[in-house]
């Protein structure tokens, strides 16, 4: 362990502590009433209220259940699209990742039009079975879990595919030549190799559902979880209580992170030297081949129904669709309005450049931190790992407000600079918010990497930069691509951080969606949503190419 390596890690830890930990510390300080005399009064109130503990417990079990359900959907899908070869695989494989790119605000409306009480599915069933009333109403924990699974299996899907792309075929061959059957090889060889990826996806899913707000708020009915509790307190002007609730939620996320580390101690898995992925299974019998293809199309169709609904809504002129099963009028008017006015397209460009800058930054910072963490190990390594996960331990709004509070004063001696009101605060917020995505991806990629490769390169005389560029980067590329595309799409559609931090020059597309909805222009909002989805699809298709190297 060389000392420049350690000092580099310390520098990174300091940077992350300043950008991520410091704003959160300021929030904790306010919860303890540090500015105006230390008090535990609000924590006591919290402890005495049964409702608060119930909400905390619900957040916990919903998040655990979301992890399990998302894994059950995402991992098999990952295997199907990575290991089987059939016509249309590449495009469909990209499309299946799109649930993560359902635009904010209008995405919910698409869900409502589709699965809500007055939605297509419900009305079709009513017509089919001649029902008087809608067969269900979307609500309660079941609905929350449904939506979490739908939007979060993508983490498992992408990470599984990235890990499979780096799987070493020689391992499988060795296993087979030693007489192990398919099942045994799967459980003893493939699954352990996937463990870093699965651990990363589990952590991301857990954190996302812990901090998830829209799903419990819109579909939970009276079912209160911690995030909705925080917002209720805040809206009611009870800022102290909201801070205490935030601190408790963040504490739970940190405990989860620690438990995760116990379950997955994270030893490196790089046991092999060669890293050629096994060939995809190319079905010989045309029947099977086309069967797989049809299955792929059906899966993509089912998973993309909300997106298709949104496209339909974007074609509906204002006020024409009420109780009919299908919209009576379809027209391109909403798109006309969108493209006629350059002012309306500016937000699209704003979102694009901010997401690109933030993703590039998050990739660089995530990769460097993950690498430093794995190299120095020990307490410092764990500190780095925690700091990378921290931005997701609390709801987006709270993180944005913490960031804004920290960087709203000019006090360089305390490490505080004036960033609010400048175009930089929003990309910075996107960057930090997406650090867990790129960081986790980098972790899982690096842990699959064999250290012997770098040692070999070093013994052949390659310097650190060259080793990094020629050996490490190419090996972790699939994982980074998965994390990068997720980060890009998340930033592109972000709403919760944006509403707190946007300025005139950085008005993003989600604010435009909100503005259209405020004027009851659902069609125009949907048109913006479709534009956003198009960008995301392009990003995924590019990712598919990238991965197919």
């Amino acid at each position: 362990m060389t000392s420049p390596r350690r000092s580099g890690a310390w520098a990174l830890a300091a940077l992350l502590a300043w950008l991520v930990g410091y704003p959160l510390l300021i929030t904790v300080g306010e919860a303890l009433g540090l500015g105006s005399g230390f008090t535990l009064e609000f924590f006591q109130t919290f402890a005495q209220r049964g409702g608060e503990w119930l909400a905390l417990w619900r957040s916990l079990w919903i998040s655990l259940a979301s992890v399990i359900l998302s894994a059950l959907v995402g991992v098999p899908l990952g295997f199907f699209f990575e290991r089987a070869e059939f016509p249309g695989r590449r495009l469909l494989g990209a499309l299946v990742a799109l649930p993560v790119a359902l635009p904010p605000l209008v995405g919910v409306i698409a869900f409502l039009f589709l699965y809500g009480e007055s939605g297509f599915v419900s009305r079709a069933l009513m017509a089919l079975f001649r029902l008087e009333d809608a067969p269900w109403s979307l609500g309660g924990p079941t609905a929350i879990l449904l939506i979490h699974t739908y939007s979060m299996y993508v983490y498992f899907y992408l990470f599984t595919r990235a890990a499979l792309a780096r799987l070493d075929s020689s391992l499988l061959e060795a296993s087979a030549s030693l007489g192990a059957g398919g099942r045994r090889t799967f459980f003893r060889v493939v699954l352990p190799q996937l463990r870093p990826a699965l651990a990363g996806a589990s952590l991301l899913t857990f954190m996302t559902s812990l901090a998830s707000f829209s799903a419990p708020y819109i579909f939970g009915g009276g079912y209160r979880v911690m995030t909705t509790q925080i917002v209720a307190s805040k809206l009611n002007g009870d800022l102290e209580m909201a801070r205490v609730e935030t601190v408790m939620l963040a504490a739970m996320a940190l405990v989860a992170l620690a438990v995760m580390r116990l379950l997955d101690p994270g030893q490196d898995l790089g046991g092999t030297v060669r890293g050629i992925p096994p060939a995809r299974r190319n079905f010989q019998r045309p029947l099977v081949r086309w069967g797989a293809s049809i299955l792929g199309y059906v899966l993509a169709l089912v998973l993309l129904l909300p997106h298709l609904t949104l496209m339909l809504v974007s074609l509906v002129p204002v006020g024409t669709w009420t109780v009919e099963a299908l919209p009576p009028v379809l027209a391109l008017g909403n798109y006309g309005a969108l493209f006629a006015d350059p002012q309306r397209l500016q937000p699209m460009l704003n979102s694009a450049w901010m997401a690109a800058v933030a993703t590039a930054g998050a990739l660089a910072l995530g990769l460097l931190s993950a690498r430093a963490s794995l190299r120095v190990k020990g307490r410092l390594g764990r500190l780095l790992e925690s700091l990378i996960a921290l931005p997701w331990a609390i709801p987006g709004t709270v993180f944005a407000v913490a960031l804004a509070t920290t960087f709203s004063v000019r006090a360089p001696q305390f490490g505080r600079f004036l960033l609010i009101g400048t175009p930089w605060i929003l990309p910075l917020a996107y960057l930090l918010r997406n650090l867990p995505l790129t960081g986790r991806a980098a972790f899982s990629g690096l842990r699959q990497l064999n250290p012997a490769l770098e040692e070999a390169a070093a013994s052949l005389g390659a310097g650190p930069w060259r080793r990094f560029r020629k050996v490490v980067l190419p090996m972790v590329r699939p994982a980074l691509a998965a994390g990068g595309v997720l980060a890009f799409i998340t930033a592109l559609g972000d709403f919760v951080t944006s509403i707190v931090l946007y300025t005139l020059d950085t008005r993003p597309i989600s604010i435009e969606i909100l503005a259209s909805l405020r004027l009851q222009d659902t069609g125009l909002a949907a048109a913006y949503g479709v534009l956003l989805m198009t960008f995301s699809t392009v990003a995924f298709v590019v990712w598919g190419r990238e991965k197919g190297v």
Partner: protein, 363 residues
């Protein structure tokens, strides 16, 4: 150019080297773009009003004041308050325009506002002003009863608040989440204040709210969802604010309104100068104009805003406003009582009433 750069950022996610170069190039381009002001003085407005009204006011004002650049950021009224609060050390906004006076009162309490008395202030009823000139009502927001006219005839529609408790509307009532809505907070406040005045405590009021909760099918997150669900007849009646319903009516929506016969708790939609505003003089001039006859008539004609000033000649206002003003029976709500108890009332409602009339929750 921006587009091509941004795509290179995602197309090579595995090589952080190049996106970093791109971002540097973009940073540079952006700094240039931001650096080139056009010499006009910017006046920044934070507002929950929609694009329709804000764009109209911006265009009209800039035409008469070519030296001013009116800039507005639209967001929810809670977001405006949040922002102004955490920007207090370094204010970015000049004007806080729009939102119920109750949330302005919070801003005043936190010392976020600067006193400024525009010349039209005398024409605004005393109850619609802050005693220390921190904010003034510009428009009136009227909570009303909403129904879907495709399913309910005007005569059958609820005509008073109590009608919502009628068995006919069981599971047909949709309500915007009252914690997040100034309109709903005011209506609930009116119920509890009435109970306090008539019986000496709040028990009767909470009982009323519990019965409403039992009738309520769903509390919706935002107005957009509320309107969609009403239009698609997932529920048939609701309580909402007049301006939005008039706007919907103009767009062929089936939603219509009725005033409550026992009276309407009118809400003051206010304006204020932000303490430490970067351009206070220009901001004052804009506030002065926003409450002028010209601007109020403009807002009434194009964006269904009802003026708060009581000295406007009726014939200057559009027909809808004259009709509304003749029908409107405002009830006096003690705003001090509301400010004093509002938080506790809503907290208790949230913990003890919400969802208690319906759907037993699983453990």
């Amino acid at each position: 150019m921006l587009r091509s750069l941004s795509f290179s950022g995602i197309s090579k996610p595995g090589r952080p080297g190049r996106p970093i170069l791109c971002s540097l190039a973009m940073a540079w381009a952006l700094t240039l773009a931001v650096g080139c002001g056009d010499g006009r003085t910017p006046v920044t407005i934070y507002s929950p009003h929609g694009r329709d009204l804000l764009q109209l006011l911006e265009d009209t004002y800039e035409k008469n004041h070519p030296e001013i650049d009116v800039r507005w950021l639209d967001m929810g009224s809670q977001d405006v308050y949040d922002r102004i609060r955490f920007e207090a050390a370094n204010p970015q906004a000049d004007i806080w325009f729009g939102g119920p006076d109750t949330i302005f009162a919070r801003g005043a309490e936190d010392g976020l506002l600067e006193p400024f008395r525009p010349s039209w202030a005398d024409a605004v009823p005393e109850a619609s002003q802050h005693p220390k000139d921190l904010y003034f009502g510009v428009y009136l927001a009227c909570p009303i009863l909403v129904y879907n006219s495709a399913a309910v005839s005007p005569d059958d529609a609820p005509s008073d608040w109590d009608d919502l408790l009628d068995p006919r509307w069981d599971d047909e009532v949709l309500i915007r989440d009252p914690l997040a809505s100034g309109t709903m907070r005011t209506v609930f406040g009116m119920i509890l204040a009435k109970s306090l005045a008539e019986t000496g405590d709040e028990a009767a009021g909470y009982d009323w709210l519990r019965r409403l909760d039992a009738q309520t099918k769903e509390y919706t997150l935002n107005p957009a969802l509320l309107f969609e669900k009403l239009t698609r007849q997932e529920g048939l009646v609701s309580i909402w604010e007049l301006t939005d319903i008039l706007l919907l009516e103009e767009r062929n929506s089936p939603l219509r309104y009725r005033f409550a016969s026992s009276g309407t708790p009118v809400i003051d939609d206010s304006i204020a100068l932000v303490r430490g505003a970067p351009y206070p003089e220009e901001a004052k001039a804009f506030i002065e104009w926003a409450g002028s006859l010209e601007a109020l008539v403009l807002a009434a004609e194009s964006a269904y805003r009802l003026p708060a000033r009581s000295d406007l000649p009726g014939e200057k206002l559009p027909a809808w406003a004259q009709k509304v003003l003749s029908e409107l029976r405002a009830i006096d709500l003690d705003s001090d009582l509301l400010a004093e108890n509002g938080r506790r009332w809503m907290d208790e409602w949230d913990r003890l009433v919400r969802g208690k009339g319906v759907d037993p929750e699983p453990p």
